[in-house]
């Protein structure tokens, strides 16, 4: 028995029962989504007809993964209130900045030009199948193992609470997501995201209330924390990892750089109109703010509520709080909220990865005469194949690859340079975009792996992206300008 299992009371019957009901509900939503998914545009962007509640909650639940409910509270447990820096101070900007800078244009281009993927935009703006393939390939390579990483969380939770082997949780979670995504496409993903986002929110609120109650109230908790160490109540936190550089980095990472995440970028293509965009921004922002603040704060409270956790036990701080304060059925329901966080991330990753292969590589490069209906049918098959590969990743747990991939996922943020310059500067060229992204990614890898001091105390992505922007401007100045047709389509025709 490991250290975590000694602390947690296994409750297999309530846990299996709750999961069974939860999966059946997801299945019903998936079935409904299937009936409404009839063509390629439905499959990838709901034919641009997503409403506000679906868009807002899907944006929020896609953004938040299992680490939001396990890794982040664990960090706060280790460092104290400074750990809330991870997402709380900059969270309010995580949707309004993308909406203001690129959202309105993306909604319009989705409606007018039929864009379905991020590579559709990049390929069209830079008149290049090269950049389209580069983005699609990078995206698939990074996102598939990310899905595997999320399934591992499900496996660990199921093993801890029921004693079942980890692969059972990985396969169960993978299969249910594959089914509703294969059948219902993005509609299946976004509709289930509404349920999952709601469950995540309830889990965060309840966990917070229990953590405060067990700790004896705010005043008692904070007095105890002060007694333990004043560092738990100030920056840079216990251990010193949240200094000002990291504080600024976190604010920028969780707002500006979400523009580069394909799962979030494509949500704008799905939005019905601007009214939906604004409602989604407000709903999603409030949801994210509440969930992140309360769940991370719960991690700090747990220092007093559930003292003495060490090593891997700390990752289970949220389930432990729930088990201490609730009966087995309700705690199982809310712990499944943590699995919901993983599922709502995987489903969007699965759909955009499918788009990368079927739309960006197959239809636009390999077989240009493939009809949308051919690609629609192929997309369902590819969704299953990618999902199975992700499950295999989850089961095999190639640790070193995961470490590489997890930071490389951050490298998708480099793509914010060609997106922003492509939308705001007519002089941005194909060569400028491609070369700067390649060099920016190399720089990002070098700083992250070896030359940490080059980051100047900030996150490596911030420095790498800044250099990418400079490189793109310089290279664009000395390479052939975009065609007049592209400039007209991406600037003049969008003015209104």
């Amino acid at each position: 028995m490991d250290a975590v299992s000694q602390l947690i009371s296994p409750a297999p019957i309530p846990f299996y029962s709750v999961l069974a009901v939860y999966f059946v509900i997801l299945g019903i939503i998936g079935y409904y989504a299937t009936k409404a998914t009839k063509n390629l545009k439905d499959f990838f962007v709901m034919s641009g007809k997503a409403g506000a509640i679906v868009s807002g909650l899907a944006y929020f639940s896609t953004q938040y993964s299992m680490s939001t409910f396990m890794g982040c509270p664990a960090t706060c447990y280790k460092v104290g209130f400074a750990g809330l820096t991870i997402s709380v101070p900059g969270l309010v900007f995580s949707m309004i900045i993308p909406a203001l800078l690129v959202g309105r244009k993306l909604v319009k281009m989705g409606h007018n030009y039929g864009f379905l993927t991020m590579a559709d935009y990049l390929g069209d703006r830079y008149e290049s199948n090269g950049i389209r393939s580069l983005h699609a390939l990078m995206m698939v390579i990074f996102l598939v193992p990310m899905m595997g990483a999320q399934t591992i969380g499900a496996g660990i939770i199921l093993r801890t609470f029921t004693g079942a082997p980890e692969w059972v949780g990985i396969v169960a979670m993978g299969v249910i997501v594959i089914l509703y995504c294969m059948a219902g496409g993005i509609r299946g993903a976004m509709l289930t995201d509404v349920l999952q986002g709601g469950l995540m929110l309830v889990t965060a609120v309840v966990t917070f209330i229990i953590s405060v109650r067990i700790g004896g109230g705010f005043e008692a908790i904070n007095a105890k924390l002060l007694e333990m160490s004043p560092d738990l109540l100030s920056h840079p936190g216990l251990g010193g990892s949240y200094g000002w550089g990291n504080y600024v980095s976190m604010i920028v990472l969780w707002s500006f750089f979400t523009i580069g995440q394909p799962t979030l970028f494509t949500k704008f293509f799905a939005m019905k109109n601007y009214r939906v965009m604004f409602k989604a921004v407000i709903l999603g922002t409030v949801g994210m703010w509440l969930a992140a603040t309360l769940i991370e704060w719960s991690g700090v409270n747990a220092l007093v509520s559930i003292p003495g956790l060490a090593g891997k036990q700390i990752d289970f701080v949220v389930p432990l709080i729930l088990q201490q304060g609730l009966g087995p059925v309700v705690s199982a329901l809310l712990i499944s909220g943590i699995m919901a966080a993983g599922m709502s991330t995987i489903d969007s990753l699965l759909i955009v990865s499918t788009g990368g292969i079927t739309r960006d590589i197959y239809q636009n490069i390999l077989k240009k005469d493939a009809t949308d209906q051919d690609v629609f049918k192929l997309s369902r098959v590819v969704t299953v194949i990618i999902g199975i590969v992700a499950i295999l990743f989850g089961i095999s747990r190639p640790a070193t690859i995961f470490k590489l991939i997890l930071f490389a996922f951050g490298g998708l943020g480099i793509w914010v340079a060609p997106v922003i310059l492509g939308m705001y500067w007519k002089g941005a060229t194909k060569m400028g975009a491609m070369l700067s992204v390649i060099l920016g990614e190399i720089l990002f890898v070098l700083i992250t792996l070896k030359y940490h001091s080059w980051a100047l105390g900030f996150n490596p992505l911030i420095v790498s992206w800044t250099i990418t922007m400079i490189l793109m401007v310089v290279i664009s100045k000395i390479t052939p300008a975009p065609s007049q047709a592209v400039l007209k389509r991406h600037f003049e025709d969008l003015r209104s």
Binding site: V88, I96, I97, F218, N222, L226, I251, I282, M423
Partner: protein, 79 residues
Amino acid sequence: MDVLSNAFEKRWFYIFMFMYFIIMVPFPFFFSTTYIPSIQGIPLFVVGWTVHTVITLALILLFAWQALQREEYHEFDDQ
């Protein structure tokens, strides 16, 4: 139709950028290397973040309301 060419969006862009950068300034109510207690002993910077978030949310609501009074934001309403 963007923050450079549309005066309405440009004005709001500057407002949000002001709110964005001000929270990065290490004022003691946003970032503090010493413990400054506030209500119930909660660190002052947590209260500072909350107040800043509420103000920004109010600005987002105002921006959305003003934007939806404008013709260009109703382009796809009939679809």
